[in-house]
Amino acid sequence: MILAPMILVQSFLAPGALALAAVHAADSVPADPSAQKLRADALVLQAAEVHVGDGTVFKPGLVILLDGKVVAAGQSLPLPAGANVIDCGNAVITPGLVDAACQLGTSALFGSAEQGSEVIPQLDMWDALDLYSKDFERLVADGVTTVFITGEASSVISAKGTAVKTGGPIGERRVAVKPIVKATLGPESSQRGAGNRSPSRFGGVNYTARRPTTRMGSAWVFRKAFHDAIAFRDAGKPSNDGLEPDAMRALADVLAGKTALRMQVREALDFYTSVKLADEFGLSFTYEYATEAAQCIDLLVARKLPVIFGPVRTTDSTFEQFEAAQPALDTARLLAEKGVPFCLTASDASGEGGLPRQAGVAIRNGLDRARALRAVTSDPAAMVGLEGRVGRLAPGLDADLVVWNGMPFDDTAKPVLVLIHGRPVLDLQGKFRKENS
């Protein structure tokens, strides 16, 4: 499905080879002197609907891209002379989707987790990424262009997450973000993972050598780590159970607010624990996954805690062995109604469980369609501090967009063209044409 980017760029920009493109004279839009400022290599996409990502919709609409950035989006815009104008016909254009809590793209699910310690905030998920993973191609096919790869749940306090574009040259994938460290409460940190906590004992790795093995233990590891960090910060005291100084420094940054904190929590009782722990150390945080958010809605409202919610799973998955496998289907609607800041995530799912599907399920269960779009574009971008970079089709933002062959998130629609930095990373129509020509 995916062709090498370089080849596609060429084919895309050669008018004759364009998929939906019909080269237009720019006569539908009145000539404007300012348009002359735009270089002729600007790219213009025209479609029945252009969703900016913040709720604004242009019907029909135009998006102008130049040098990998969005120049403008609107209903009618002054076009540069001689610009490549691609008419996408009845298609709908949205910003590239953003997943704020993606768990794909590491060499294997949980396989890249560092098991040497329960507390590894000094490490960086960037180092665990497999940029060659097929996961990224699947994400592109879902219309997801930016993902925040979040720490893995097999450590109580996991590594810093990292943001990457899902396509384009390897060297340009990384997106700088403010550091975010993730903690995991509940059974995933205590019962999951590769099972290597303290190999020195018993001469090997087995169930009994892991700590924590219970919720109590997860909570304790969290508390102990932050106490150690405080003692290290204030008095330079080394940790008595072997936390690296760098780990304690990283936690001190969390305490100081320089690094953001996330709590992966699924079950209601773990929400309770998360708040207790955060209060003990004066931490603010964002929930990740928050499967039983609907049961804890009062808590979320009272505490104004943002939620990266999802995924709602519609297929069998390994998660079902856990108690809170399936959230209430209308959780997203409830969060929206109660004014809880939230976005949607597909976590480790793509394709049928991927982010468009997550938005689709939310819409089906009562979430407003425009809100659903925001919940997979500008809201997640804001959750990871990238609101000035991705998530909307606004001037100056990255030219990451998706052309859908129907109403986005409808079960009948899918992305047919995905651009990252203005370059196509998916061009289904072009491929179709090629194969049939």
Binding site: S107, Q115, S117, Q122, D127, A128, V205
Partner: protein, 364 residues
């Protein structure tokens, strides 16, 4: 036919010989019909003069006065082959698996000079090898640079600490020791790479398998200003574009029926990106030549193939001042083949290691 005078003329590096024959002060001159040039091409032959274990001159029209002379009609002289990753004489002893980082371990400590594998390597045309720690550790320790024969007919450690061997593939992450992940290993790796003590001549040998292992290894080593040679990657295709300018070479081999593509198709792809290739076959000269020949059949330039057996590995080991090419002043590690070394039918007529001839059979 030539064997008897030849062995008489050279120090016979096949066992403890009489002391008197250890050194020939008088030069020895070899007449060959062709010479593999430093750029890998086949050049014209002539007289090669060896004195005191070193090459004195090449391509002369006549032997110097007083030199013992030997003629190899149709023979082509080439630098002795160099293998960067062997376990000669120390198989099974090159790992200290208890810890993930063992930079202080030296393969030289596992070196057994009298092991018969050195003689076998020398007879097959391999004159310089590295004893290389195995892949159990992320930092496995220092390679030991060896001549396959010394004047006493044994293997010999060459001077200086060898380059470090790294393993960045899953082999070094057995799961029962920390760190368990590349992510967790990077802080310590970066710390080690920043230390002067880990710097050596030559390239760091890094065993990798997948494209992403290549990416992360290149990032880490480049950031520390280290030159890197990728050791036996399995599927590097997707990451080939990352290599130019950052990887000094890629070590491939030996040809294996399980992974034939690696040794046949890859060399050409690497050559297209101007990334040199070195071949390894655990000190087996015949296997090295086979691997190189197959790569040529799959499109590798013969010049690059010859260098992949000699100059490139010598450079990776930091031994290119003395070995890897036939040049005046270098150690007299040379092999006279009955034709192009890449021609598998070409027999070996003579192997000199440091000017000493390797006996074809043990002297009784």
């Amino acid at each position: 036919m030539l064997a008897i005078p030849l062995l008489a003329a050279f120090a016979i590096a096949s066992g403890p010989p009489p002391a008197a024959s250890l050194r020939q002060p008088a030069p020895v001159a070899l007449r060959v019909d062709g010479v593999v040039q430093p750029d890998g091409s086949l050049g014209a032959g002539g007289w090669i003069v060896v004195r005191n274990g070193r090459i004195e001159s090449l391509g002369g029209a006549a032997p110097p006065a007083g030199a013992a002379t030997f003629e190899f009609p149709g023979g082509i002289a080439c630098a002795g082959m160099v293998d960067v990753a062997t376990s000669l004489g120390a198989a099974g002893q090159l790992a200290e698996p208890a810890r993930a980082f063992t930079p202080d371990v030296a393969a030289a400590d596992a070196f057994e000079p009298d092991h018969s594998s050195f003689l076998a390597a020398a007879r097959s045309g391999v004159t310089t090898v590295a004893l290389t720690p195995s892949g159990d550790n992320i930092v496995g320790g220092r390679l030991a640079l060896l001549r396959t024969r010394d004047d006493h007919g044994r293997g010999a450690v060459l001077v200086g600490p060898g380059p470090l061997r790294f393993t960045w593939s899953d082999e070094a992450f057995p799961g029962d020791r920390v760190p368990t992940s590349r992510m967790g290993a990077l802080p310590r790796l970066r710390e080690l790479l920043a230390q002067d003590a880990t710097k050596t001549a030559g390239a760091s040998l890094v065993a990798v398998q997948t494209p992403d292992q290549i990416r992360t290894a290149l990032d880490a080593f480049s950031a520390a200003g280290r030159s890197i040679a990728l050791l036996q990657p399995i599927h590097p295709e997707d990451a080939l574009d990352l290599l130019p300018g950052r990887a000094q070479a890629v070590v491939l081999g030996a040809y294996d029926l399980d992974t034939p593509e690696r040794e046949t198709r890859l060399p050409k792809l690497l050559a297209e990106r101007a990334v040199p290739v070195a071949f390894t076959a655990n000190g087996d000269g015949a296997a090295l030549r086979l691997t190189a020949a197959l790569a040529v059949r799959s499109g590798l330039d013969p010049k690059a193939a010859r260098l992949a057996l000699t100059a490139v590995p010598a450079r990776l080991l930091g031994a290119d001042g003395d070995a890897g090419t036939l040049e005046a002043g270098k150690r007299a590690d040379l092999v006279v083949y009955g034709g192009d070394p890449l021609d598998l039918a070409a027999k070996i007529h003579l192997v000199l290691v440091g000017g000493a001839a390797v006996a074809k059979k043990e002297t009784p």
